[in-house]
Symmetry: D2
Subunit: 338 residues, 4 copies
């Protein structure tokens, strides 16, 4: 922690700050410049990270030296985390995972048919929403537990592990019973009760970046899960909210190298929600592979005109097959496979 004092800070104020720091069990290192005094804090920064140093008279600014996340940090493991989900390895340096399926589970026929299509085309994880976070209360809210059961059935039929969203701590047991990967959606990225809850689960978790979340925020939310004992966390970039209205969100692909630089956790990209327009998804899926994503999540629907949610951004099976082929070529170009 480096404390930069105001030019007009008095000796008394500086002494008061030093005293507080020593009181918290740390040492100080004073550097008096011509215009300003700088106080370096020596010792474990965690002890004073949450102290309101900026509230002390004479303080101009406080700069942390250490990162606020620990278990999430690449420095904690010095090697990349690979998560094994029923034999599917997520985070493998050489192999990109494809997660696919409909936005929502709508019926037995729908999920079984789409599951078979995406499996055949190359997906190794099946996605499908049973509990749906919808902006409006008047739109389809998902089939709930019934949807979870249908997902489990689709897993039986195809052998693919299943990822689905958990929205409420009350549903944790149900979702953990049926799902292989628990998804925490963008809108719940800072639902800290939910994060702690899945931290106590043994199931792998995919944490989606919130619409207003910085890279640091994402890592701190992941830290909530890891600090409860669950190290099987993958992060997911799905677009942030910006002034641009042409796309539904702005897919921030620089988050891929940034998160992989800061953390050991696998990084998935969801181009479907990032783009929000079917026309833009192929280019963004290819770009996500090239940017170094460990996995790609794509929504597919066999009958988008009849979809109960987000039909306008679902890919048709043929288009999906074509993109998968192209993604595989790009994967090979960067020394991986898909």
């Amino acid at each position: 922690m480096i404390i930069i004092c105001k030019p007009e800070a008095t000796e008394q104020q500086i002494a008061h700050i030093e005293e507080a720091i020593r009181h918290w069990g740390l040492k100080t290192h004073i550097s008096r410049g011509v215009e300003r005094t700088i106080i370096g804090v020596i010792g474990p920064e965690d002890v004073i990270r949450e102290k309101p140093l900026a509230a002390f008279p004479g303080v101009s600014s406080v700069t942390p030296v250490m990162k606020p996340y620990k278990l999430t940090s690449f420095d904690f493991t010095h090697k990349r985390t690979v998560i094994d989900v029923n034999g599917v390895k997520i985070g493998d340096e050489k192999k990109i995972v494809l997660m696919s399926g409909p936005c929502s589970v709508e019926s037995r026929e729908q999920i079984l048919e789409i599951a078979k299509i995406v499996k055949k085309t190359g997906a190794s994880v099946l996605r499908g929403g049973a509990f749906k976070p919808r902006t409006s209360p008047y739109t389809f809210q998902g089939l709930g537990v019934e949807g979870l059961k249908l997902l489990a059935e689709a897993r039986e039929a195809t052998g693919m592990p299943v990822i689905t969203e958990l929205m409420d701590t009350k549903d944790t047991a149900a979702v953990a019973e049926y799902a292989d990967i628990i998804q925490i959606g963008a809108r719940n990225m800072q639902n800290f009760s939910l994060l702690k809850e899945v931290g106590r689960c043994k199931k792998p978790v995919m944490l989606k970046r919130g619409m207003a979340a910085t890279i640091k925020d994402v890592l701190l939310s992941a830290e909530y899960i890891l600090s409860e004992g669950n190290m099987n966390v993958m992060l997911c970039e799905r677009g942030i909210r910006t002034f641009e209205t042409y796309t539904r969100n702005t897919l921030d692909l620089s988050a891929v190298p940034a998160l992989k630089k800061e953390s050991h956790l696998p990084v998935i990209v969801d181009p479907t929600h990032g783009a929000g327009h079917r026309d833009l998804i192929p280019a963004m899926a290819l770009a996500a592979v090239a940017a170094g994503a460990d996995g790609i999540m794509l929504e597919v629907h066999n009958d988008p005109e009849a979809a109960l949610s987000d039909g306008e951004q679902a890919l048709l099976p043929e288009k999906f097959a074509q993109i998968v082929k192209q993604m595989r070529a790009v994967a090979v170009a960067i020394g991986k496979e898909m």
Copy 2:
């Protein structure tokens, strides 16, 4: 709903769209321009709001005519909602409510002392966090139920109703037992399970705007609460996330007239979180009053250097008293009182 077709849309595609609309029980009204065909949908828009019209071949764009929120809309009541909380009226056209207290409940002494200070200075509602949503898992997470009990004690001591945050559906009963107003924080604004749950409560709710939430998003989240039967909802502007880093968030005061134009619900402003710097709070508090807020929420602490959360943005009692005096003068200038 107005559907603008692509210039190259075929007659067959247009017929297919019309057919779908009729199939959903609505009528169409076709207008063929030189370059484009426009399809007006006649009948209740709700029926097709969630249909994936943009997924139909030949569709260029879809523009809704009706607003997606209903109960929340000013058009629903044609008069402003006034919420009575133990005799304190929130939303009264002539009287601005002051909600104040510490960021977190830290101890019996702390909450009782601050409650007395803010009561004496003019607050009529006491705020204080018992469950705290903190970005990092390593910072103070609140006293929980113990904090709720201390708030209830402070209510007994001062007569002020109490507002506190609910973060998890599991804690609903506990929070509803002790609090007079349930706060839904910015990070949970789209935690739809929580919104439905407080919608089924009988307690008044204050819904804070999420950091990436548009005016429309706020109103749709409120709609979740109202549609479950709880009409006692107030909205709270507390700053949105923008590129500006000088302030913690960007307090969007235009949200006050915008929300009051669109909705009948009272609008509160929280300048503390919007500004994030003690120096900027007074100006923003005065501006919030002038912008037409029904209530102002301000954090006060008697010993900010020792605060367990957000001490750097808490006002000292003397500064608080000074701002309250100025806010009262501005209130009178616009024909209200505080």
Copy 3:
């Protein structure tokens, strides 16, 4: 300047950084923590502000201690700048200036009539665009020099000094000949050639905040003008671009106390462009006064339906008169007049 080294920085890398700093004529102050080494740079920071220290191996981050702006800084004058424009004082602590007029000068009759209306209602500066920065090339681009002459005529008729926008260095002489205050628009806030040019002028300048400009960016753009010798600069908040689409821009009123804290220059607020909807302007104008603005700029039109630009956001004369009355009451409430 404080340089935080990477945990893995070698002694050789640290020595290399120190050597470079000494080579640039400054001293270093090393603090070796358990995990990281921190290098403090002692001496005038300007010398190395533009050195690519982050490009040196072993450097994790570089934190400046000094502010990058000087002449613009409050610390440079330690008193507020008051600009005298033909007897109208802008920046006076007790008196708020009202600048008003149409978006564009459209004709002699139009500008003379509106000038008389706003003068009578209380404006002391007349605004009107002759060179118009329009998003589309197919919309009205202003009357150019002819518009400047009409503005000068309106000044003769009313005695009000005139503010108008300069968009091109080629037009500097013409604009400086007719205008009393030169406006640099939001889109040209980082047109550094234009800033230098008006810096060499003797005329007062109003610099509008760019749509993506931080507080620091605004002050650095002002520094361009001041550093060329023109100290008569006022800053103008007119809304920033955010994800919100309900308003045209998001008026960031916290910029008023922020800019006044950092700088000695007067701060004007333009609620017309910030809100973009006539319905929201009154509330934002009152809030701007309460937030401490030194001046308010409001667009007025006597026939908005026939306006050649931005008619939808211009106030009608009666509405304008009503807002002025309310702004005056708020001004008095905070110890000023208008």
Copy 4:
């Protein structure tokens, strides 16, 4: 144009709107719903695009049907524009162009050496700034005309055409004399005087997206250039300003497919400014190729520690060579070459 009336709009107000539209030479098409009346405007939308329809009583909202840009639109040409710059084809469907060089021209030795390096590695266009738009007036502002001459010398030495930035209409002749492609920087994207000026030039222009510019804004700025007669325009995505501070800007790669869908103009990506950190540039360069960019601009410096601007984001020659190799592999994977 579709005008949605307010629910409370009177017959008189609707008649007044219709009358105005007919007065402007267009026809109306009225559709009366149960709750609202909708007025369709039939005829060339351009005529009324700038009319302040929202200022008419009874109007709730105005939705354009036609796009506001014409010459820029893909619909105008129905084929992709290929720009020939001294034999280098930009916009070719099969060949991605690499533009490279230092941020600023610093000296004869520097520019000649870097030019030779990038040429050898695979660049076909040389970049280098002579007029530099710098946030602070106290940093290196470029060598000006001297820099232009050195660029011309480097062109002679390597055969590569040269791209450099024009910041001021006054320098147009000088820049046009020496440069092969004129760059309009992000900060001048809405400097409409400058856009018109380069529109009257015969030289190819690269227009960089502004930090707060939407896709539509970019296309309208391009329209300024095309409407003056210069069709040789390429667009450049270089990152937008968002709340994220980890990266210097947020590189919006979805702009590549979006701009190519809307327009016939070539699209270049500049990962250097988008990322702002040397570590993130390789991933973003590969992603830009995969997203479908027609060209990639990368800054290279042989001695970043001594660079006069942006040294921290310049690539070293070896790293550059490595990225070029990878970009070529990705190009081949998507059926192109580089």
